[in-house]
């Protein structure tokens, strides 16, 4: 185990997720085995905002899907608070690339979906859904249907939905990739605020280096396929972050450090 990357005793937060020698292999149609990810060692601490950045096809989403329990790992282990996991966890909320809202349900009903599936108390969950919708600024759209909402609003509904069953961890797979640049910036601010207000642990996959630096307390840099940890950058930019930060020198230093990994691998010209 590479303790230099995983053990970070200087932070007081307890470890939430411990990943050891995690890897994913695919078998192609002609029988060849392709290493998609890993092996990876990583410890995710309670309450941190970890962003995962890497070139296309490096296994970022594979890592997220492994954590979400949506795909089976080929080797290694994932432990949540010391307990090994297999399959999806109740304690995790997932936000996908697209909002994946059910068009026949209202905003409110969509947010309530996890509560319905998990059989939670409807009154309590309903209260929580309303609070969450207020938090993402959709108080007035509770009874609207998804096709009446903009792309950014839909993704906000998806975030509220991922939080309604009060999971400890939020997994986000390039959630703002399909949004326009302006909406994306405001969503970035919003997700930082949600993270701070809710105290959730967030793992956020992106292919945008600035986004990774802006959002993360740590940035996990994956190498091109097979995705291995190329770097784990602690982003010391404070808790209060606004968009002006993105043009600061310190921000640039972090971005350059990450970009260099891809330049050396020939991913970026």
């Amino acid at each position: 185990m590479d303790d230099g990357r995983t053990g970070r005793s200087e932070l007081a937060a307890p470890a939430l997720i411990q990943i050891e020698q995690l890897e994913k292999k695919y078998r192609t149609r002609d029988g060849q085995v392709v290493q998609a990810l890993g092996p990876i060692d990583l410890t995710i601490l309670q309450g941190e905002f970890i962003t995962v950045v890497g070139p296309s096809g490096c296994g970022k989403s594979t890592l997220l899907n492994l954590l979400a329990g949506l795909i089976e790992r080929s080797g290694g282990s994932i432990r949540v608070r010391g307990t090994p996991i297999d399959g999806p966890q109740r304690d995790i909320g997932v936000v996908f690339q697209s909002a994946v809202l059910l068009p026949w349900k209202t905003t409110f009903e969509n947010v309530m979906l996890p509560a319905t599936v998990l059989g939670l108390d409807r009154v309590k969950a309903g209260e929580r859904a309303k609070t969450l919708l207020e938090m993402v600024g959709l108080k007035d759209f509770v009874q609207k249907y998804p096709n009446e909402l903009s792309g950014g609003m839909q993704q906000r509904v998806a975030i509220a939905r991922a939080l309604v069953h009060d999971p400890t961890m939020l997994l986000m797979d390039e959630p703002f990739g399909a949004l326009d640049a302006m909406t994306r910036e405001s969503m970035n601010l919003e997700i930082r605020r949600i993270w701070r207000d809710s105290g959730k642990t967030v793992l956020f996959v992106t292919h945008s280096i600035p986004e990774a630096v802006f959002l993360g307390t740590r940035v996990l840099v994956l190498s091109p396929r097979p995705g291995r940890i190329a770097d784990l950058v602690e982003v010391d930019l404070g808790d209060e972050r606004d968009l002006d930060l993105m043009t600061s020198d310190r921000f640039g230093t972090y971005s350059r450090r990450i970009r260099r990994h891809f330049q050396s691998k020939g991913v970026i010209e």
């Binding site: 999806p88 979906l113 996890p114």
Partner: protein
């Protein structure tokens, strides 16, 4: 620059996509309201006139006026109503049974590759058999009453629904399934909460076809052997060379078909409110 005041004062009708004003504009928007009846009068007019001039005998083919008289008589005497309701009931029993059966079987097939592999060859074999050819057997098995016709209607209606149920359930957006999996939903939850509603537009397209097919099935059943129903009536009238009566019965059948089609369309709009009308598969 357009100020708020100016834009508020601008006539809404001028905007593209708004309802047009004026008779001509309205005509261009929906020409069917004028031209469908117009075409009807032209065709019946020419037909009536040609039959008078050519002196076509009534036992060969009727003129529109003859059909009209038969229709009025048939409806006022209750003959068409009685037999029409009988045929309609038969068709609807068949249609509803077929819908339930196709949903269950289609649901099973879409859920399990195993069941699909086993049943598929049989389904193909049954579907490629002209089902009308088995109608005489149904008379032997289920008698001259309504049962044999309802079964015939059901058999004919079954396959269009089944195919669409399977295709619809199979084409569910993978991401919606992933979402349900991430929530550890059970198979049944995923089926009722995601798969079935996702497949509903496709299933409805099948139902649209099937409801018309069910009338066809009922009529075929009545042709083969029956004591009642519009199909039975048509046979009787045909034997008596009452061509006007046959045509009048056909008018009733087509009215029945159109009503059912519109009913399904209305239901579809009510139930599948989230689907844009253009996106719905048209039949």
């Amino acid at each position: 620059m357009i100020t708020a005041k100016e834009s508020a004062a601008a006539p809404l009708e001028a905007l593209p996509g708004e309802a047009p004003v004026g008779l001509w504009a309205r005509l261009r928007e929906s020409p069917e309201w004028v031209f469908v009846p117009l075409l009807f009068f032209v065709i019946t007019g020419v037909w009536e006139w040609a039959f008078k001039v050519l002196e076509v005998p009534l036992y060969v083919a009727p003129a529109p006026s003859n059909i009209w008289r038969s229709l009025v008589y048939g409806i006022s005497s209750g003959l068409f109503i009685d037999n029409g309701l009988y045929t309609l009931t038969t068709a609807m029993i068949g249609f509803l049974s077929a819908t339930v059966a196709a949903l269950i079987l289609g649901g099973l097939i879409a859920q399990s590759r195993f069941i699909e592999r086993i049943l598929y060859p049989y389904l193909i074999a049954i579907q490629t058999t002209p089902k009308i050819a088995i109608a005489p057997l149904f008379i032997i098995w289920f008698g001259f009453g309504m049962t044999s016709k309802a079964i015939m209607a059901g058999v004919v209606a079954f396959f269009p629904i089944l195919v669409n149920v399977i295709v619809g359930l199979r084409s569910t957006d993978v991401q919606r399934i992933e979402l349900m999996r991430s929530l550890r939903a059970t198979r049944w939850q995923t089926f009722t909460m995601v798969r079935l509603p996702s497949a509903a537009p496709m299933i409805f397209a099948g139902l649209q076809v099937a409801i018309i097919f069910s009338i066809l099935g009922a009529i075929v059943g009545e042709f083969v052997g029956s004591r009642k129903g519009l199909g039975n009536l048509i046979l009787q009238m045909n034997t008596n060379l009452d061509t006007a009566g046959v045509f009048a019965a056909l008018v009733c059948l087509s009215a029945m078909g159109i009503s059912l089609h519109l009913l399904m369309q209305w239901l579809q709009r009510k139930l599948l409110f989230w689907v844009n009308q253009e996106q719905l598969p048209r039949v």
